[in-house]
């Protein structure tokens, strides 16, 4: 028992930290998330698929005159601040984008910030938008507010063009895993429906590959294998993610993996992604919101 005496100071420190953690938040970080989450990914998935607005192959957006259209994508807005979001929405309103995707971390997770985001989008967004949760949206027990204000975080929608349709799949990776139920749902959806669509684009929050070293984490490697293998087997055209805050692009076989810049206020590299979809493929370009 001598070594227990030797490590007594360390044990006391550990117990003190453990006792403080449940009460802990530093700024916009909910430290309790190191130990537990109030809404795990399987629970969020179940609530998403049972949500009244979820899951139909009815086209959500129609580009009837042509087989080409544009859409945009943003991520990591972290409202609180709405300055960069406002700049982006001005661009979206003045352009030809049919809709935009929001790849997670819409807010800090605090209910009041989610409400700011919701009200701002209601008053400024002139085209439909399709969000998913990020890890920050789940802080401070944020999931009930997210699903109340923004709807489900696992769903799909389609864009119907003149002669063809494209499939957009939105996945909840706020916990850096799809979880068993969502992973099975994704696999079955692709198995049943992929061949009915021209392009398939997946939007989720947590980036798969570490193009640079950061302290934020990604899915475990066997989940990466699963996702990469699905991309190979079902010819996924593009996977759009956020989380890393700095854009990067990787081409792997048929699939383009894109990480968005954060749209966070005050961020030097804040940008949005504009994508042009046509019979020739999917072209894309990053546009800075900073002058």
């Amino acid at each position: 028992m001598g070594y227990l005496k030797k490590y007594r100071t360390g044990l006391k420190t550990g117990l003190l930290v453990g006792a403080l953690l449940p009460a802990g938040c530093i700024g916009d970080a909910d430290l309790t998330g190191f130990l537990y989450s109030s809404a795990g990914v399987n629970k969020r998935f179940e609530e998403s698929i049972n949500h009244v607005s979820a899951l139909s192959l009815k086209p959500a957006v129609e580009a009837t005159d042509t087989n080409a259209y544009a859409f945009m994508a943003i991520g990591d807005v972290h409202v609180g601040g709405t300055e960069n979001l406002g700049l982006f929405l001005d661009k979206a309103a003045g352009g030809d984008a049919l809709f935009f995707a929001i790849a997670g971390d819409l807010s800090t997770g605090k209910k009041e910030d989610m409400l700011v985001m919701k009200n701002f989008l209601n008053s400024h967004a002139s085209v439909p938008y399709y969000p998913v949760t990020g890890n920050h949206d789940l802080y401070f027990d944020g999931w009930p507010s997210f699903i109340q204000y923004f709807g489900p975080s696992t769903y799909f929608m389609t864009v119907r063009c003149r002669d063809t349709s494209d499939l957009f799949i939105f996945l909840d990776s706020g916990s850096a895993t799809l979880g068993k139920d969502q992973a099975n749902w994704l696999k079955n959806l692709l198995k049943q429906e992929r061949s009915n669509f021209r392009y398939c684009i997946i939007v989720t929050h947590t980036n798969l590959f570490r193009s640079r070293r950061t302290t934020s984490t990604n899915p475990l490697v066997d989940e990466l294998y699963f996702l990469m293998d699905l991309c190979i087997d079902y010819n996924i055209d593009m996977v759009i993610t956020g989380h890393d805050h700095r854009h990067s692009e990787e081409q792997f076989g048929h699939t383009t993996f894109v990480i968005l810049d954060a749209l966070l206020d005050g961020y030097k590299y804040a940008s949005y992604l504009k994508l042009e979809v046509s019979e020739q493929g999917i072209d894309y370009q990053f546009f800075s919101v900073n002058p």
Binding site: Y3, A29, D30, L31, G33, F34, L35, Y36, S37, G40, V41, N135, L138, Y139, G174, S175, A176, T177, L178, G179, K180, A183, T206, F209, R210, S211, R212, R213, T214, T215, S216, T217, N218, P219, L220, V221, D222, E223, L224, Y225, F226, M228, D229, I232, H243, E250, Q251, F252, G253, H254, F257
Partner: protein, 223 residues
């Protein structure tokens, strides 16, 4: 000079569960040859799961050199792991590591360089360029910190570990794994061990979620 070395072999079987593999079973064999502080080990792992296309999971090769520093072993290692997650997908890791063992503590630090790539056959079949058939990640930190109840000489031990490294797997540096290992030496040349692994996702995103677990049973025999 006469070479006088010690061959050994480790083998284990494990059963586990993860969201993407479901319930899976693994079997591995790791022969090793040690002489004068130098060691070479190689290994093969087979993984059976209803969700996995291939039975062969991974092979590895590791060379190491251990010497004494302040009467404790310091080891340097160079290793290579090749994995086959599916019929088209491959992953390779090359790593360098240093480890140091104390009476109750063990530390490992290293760096690995990970590449995902498409198999040669699939790449040629589909007409993809080499550039579009591989993803090289930024270098990754490897670590292991273990605490043992007993000193290594004892016939039994209980060891708790936090690490991102296993025999045939290196996780991202931001995904730590937790391990509890019990071992028993019925005689000097034989070690029986049992391990329980627990995995979480999202911990360093401050949004932790249960991920998976596995139970491993194995033996190491100095032949």
């Amino acid at each position: 000079m006469t070479l006088f070395g010690q061959p050994a072999v480790s083998g284990y079987a494990e059963i586990g569960n993860s969201p993407v593999l479901g319930t899976f079973g693994t079997f591995a064999m790791i022969p090793e040859y040690k002489v004068h502080g130098l060691a070479v080990e190689t290994g093969i792992s087979l993984l059976g799961s209803g969700q996995k296309e291939t039975l062969l999971d991974a092979v590895m090769l590791r060379g190491s050199y251990a010497f004494s520093v302040k009467q404790n072993p310091l080891g340097l290692a160079l290793g290579y792991i090749w994995k086959q997650p599916s019929t088209e997908l491959r992953e390779t890791n090359i790593y360098l590591s240093v480890d140091y063992g104390l009476k109750h503590w063990y530390f490992l630090l290293g760096n690995n360089f990970r590449t995902y790539r498409l198999s040669g056959n699939y790449r040629e079949e589909q007409g993809f360029s080499r550039e579009d058939s591989r993803i090289r990640e930024s270098w990754n930190l490897m670590y292991r910190v273990s605490f043992s109840v007993n000193a290594p000489q004892k016939s039994w031990n209980l060891i708790t570990t936090i690490t991102n490294v296993d025999y045939f797997l290196i996780e991202q540096e931001t995904n730590p794994l937790f391990n509890l290992r019990g071992l028993y030496k019925p005689r000097q040349d034989l070690v029986l061990f049992m391990e329980a692994w627990y995995k979480t996702s999202g911990m360093l995103n401050i949004q932790v979620n249960h991920y998976g677990f596995q139970f491993r049973f194995g033996v190491t025999w100095d032949i």
